[in-house]
């Protein structure tokens, strides 16, 4: 094989992907950081260099602060729910029976239908007058009258959290399911011989063995929660009174509602930095695998 032929082949085969990626992904990414140091309102207006002023404005912007608080609320509620329900369902459905197989097929349904469908579906389910949620509560004797779950500031954000968990849980069940399957059969059998079964077997034997998947799951919770947009945008638009506002819906409002191009870019960078820091914290918490202490101390 001639050297020039090889080089020419590599260039022609990589060029389409590299060019597309450079122009439409890398370039906007660099620009995103650049835009954030300008005061720039609308496509036609002049850009004015303002240094870090957009950032200091953002940090003292009460609306942006609310979105950060809401994000932390969602992170905690979603995190707790996922870490309880996902391993539980995954453990209960590891079997080879038809029922377990069926559940394994179905639990990803909310994940594969569009987020738009999820949002609209729950808009109907939670409707105060004819939604299935109120109808069901009525049916089992809980009188909710015409409770508006999304309209009441005290229940709006928890309702968003429930909908998000409904949407996301399947993915985490799948993660934990795969991890549990990778635990060697001998370990499971040995645990049963020692008399550990059910919940005890899970806590004492299996849970510590799937350490790395917990880090993956926690990282994905951070990424997915920080990236919530369509759900809130369609379900509540951040209402009532920003009770459900999340960073990305606020960013969208600033960029495309108010044409605050510079300011919204600074918001985007801040949200990105926050996501990076949270992922870093997750890495720290789940840094060391307690099953293999020698790994940490050996180096």
């Amino acid at each position: 094989m001639k050297r020039t032929e090889r080089t020419r082949f590599i260039i022609t085969f990589l060029a389409p992907a590299v060019l597309t990626y450079a122009i439409f992904v890398i370039l906007p990414l660099i620009q995103a950081f650049g835009f954030s140091v300008y005061r720039w309102k609308g496509i036609s207006s002049q850009r004015k260099w303002v240094g870090l002023q957009n950032y200091t404005n953002a940090l003292s912007d009460p609306a942006f602060r609310v979105t950060i608080t809401n994000t932390f609320y969602l992170l905690i509620v979603v995190g707790i729910a996922v870490f309880i329900f996902a391993p539980a369902v995954a453990t209960a459905t590891t079997g080879k029976g038809p029922f377990a197989k069926f559940i394994r097929g179905v639990y990803l349904f909310p994940q594969v239908i569009s987020m738009v469908v999820v949002a609209i579906l729950w808009m109907f389910l939670l409707n105060p007058n004819y939604g299935l949620v109120n109808a069901t509560l009525q049916l089992v004797g809980i009188n909710v009258k015409q409770k508006s779950w999304l309209g009441d500031p005290s229940t709006a954000l928890p309702s968003v959290a429930v909908v998000f968990i409904w949407y996301a849980l399947g993915f985490y069940i799948m993660l934990f399911g795969a991890a549990l399957q990778s635990v060697p059969e001998e370990v499971k059998e040995a645990a049963e011989l020692d008399g550990a079964s059910g919940f005890k077997k899970f806590i004492k034997v299996l849970w510590p063995m799937i350490w790395s998947i917990k880090r993956v799951a926690a990282t994905y919770i951070v990424i997915n929660v920080v990236n919530i947009f369509a759900l809130v945008f369609l379900l509540t638009k951040g209402a009532p009174d920003r009770a459900t506002e999340v960073p990305l819906t606020y960013l969208y409002e600033q960029a495309f509602g108010n044409s605050q191009f510079g300011y919204s870019s600074a918001l985007a960078v801040l949200v990105f930095v926050m996501a990076l820091m949270l992922s870093g914290i997750v890495m720290l918490i789940f840094r060391r695998d307690p099953m293999e202490p020698q790994r940490g101390s050996g180096r």
Binding site: M1, R6, F9, F13, L14, A17, V18, T20, Y21, F24, V25, P28, L29, A32, F35, I43, A92, T93, F99, F102, G105, V106, Y107, L108, F109, P110, V112, I113, S114, M115, V116, V117, I120, W122, M123, F124, L125, Y130, G131, L132, A135, W166, G170, F171, L175, A178, S197, V216, I223, N227, F229, A230, Y252, A255, F261, S264, S265, A268, V271, F272
Partner: protein, 275 residues
């Protein structure tokens, strides 16, 4: 004791799966009801199957046009994305060169960066090219933002194909170019299908990028269209048709998913754990 425990677990699982399936079934059942039935008795079955909801959703409500747009954009993006990614992945897997690891890493980095960071510069870029509100613009953006994951999965796939086959083809006088299209690409077919289906589902469902780049009515894709119908007053009097629209959006995805679910699980896991 053990029997009770087993019963409790099964009961909990039935309850869990009901919370997933019942809402989805409710949409399907409601799509055959009249608006009045939807309003008055959420749990009841329709008195008569109102198939006209579907023709109304498809025609009057514009779902037919939205579906056509989504189909054009999804298929168009796949037709560019798959060969483009396969070519790059083949080079990454079989023709390492100085800097190829770095380049591959740059592509992988795209899986970590959230889309919201680029949404404004991307909008302005497409706007300056005259590509906002065009199907072509959305297709190009979908290709660009699917490259990372697709190249990642396909590189793994090409790695698993032994070198001997390509070498034999070269011995027989095939150029590198011919070897790829005639020998390697057919061998990679299972990988191409999986990654194609995976991307098809994601692009068919995509909302955020489309929301920013497509604002004019005639070019809207299904997720944009159905969101528009649900949030504007215009169709709020005809719930049945709106539910029919939701069924039209989610049913194709659920059917495709059901047939390929094992492969889809595998691909999702590969992306999640290694990526």
């Amino acid at each position: 004791m053990k029997a009770i425990q087993k019963f409790a677990v099964t009961a909990a699982m039935v309850l869990f799966i009901a919370t997933v399936i019942v809402p989805l079934l409710w949409v399907v059942v409601s799509s055959f009801k009249s608006s009045q039935e939807v309003f008055e008795s959420p749990w009841a079955l329709p008195a008569v199957m109102k198939w006209s909801n579907y023709s109304k959703a498809w025609g009057e409500a514009g779902i037919g046009r939205y579906a056509f747009n989504s189909l054009v954009v999804t298929v168009g993006a796949l037709l560019i994305l798959i060969p483009m990614s396969a070519m790059a992945a083949y080079v990454f897997a079989k023709f390492p060169f100085k800097g190829s690891k770095f380049l591959f890493g740059t592509f992988l980095g795209g899986m970590m960066f959230p889309n919201f960071l680029v949404i404004l510069p991307l909008f302005l870029l497409l706007n300056s090219m005259g590509l906002t509100d065009t199907k072509l613009g959305l297709i190009i953006v979908y290709v660009a933002y699917s490259l990372s994951f697709t190249i990642f999965v396909l590189t793994g796939f090409f790695h698993s194909i032994p070198n001997e086959l390509a070498e034999a083809a070269t011995m027989d006088g095939c150029t590198l170019n011919m070897t790829f299209w005639k020998v390697m690409l057919p061998l990679a077919k299972p990988g191409l299908i999986v990654v194609g289906i995976f991307n098809a589902i994601g692009l068919w469902n995509e909302y955020g990028l489309a929301k920013v780049l497509m604002s004019e009515e005639p070019n809207k894709t299904l997720p944009l269209g159905i969101a528009h119908l649900a949030t504007t007053q215009q169709f709020q009097s005809d719930w049945g048709a709106l539910f029919a629209g939701l069924v039209i959006v989610m049913l194709p995805v659920l059917i495709v998913y059901w047939f390929f679910r094992d492969k889809i699980h595998e691909t999702m896991l590969a992306g999640a754990v290694k990526g």
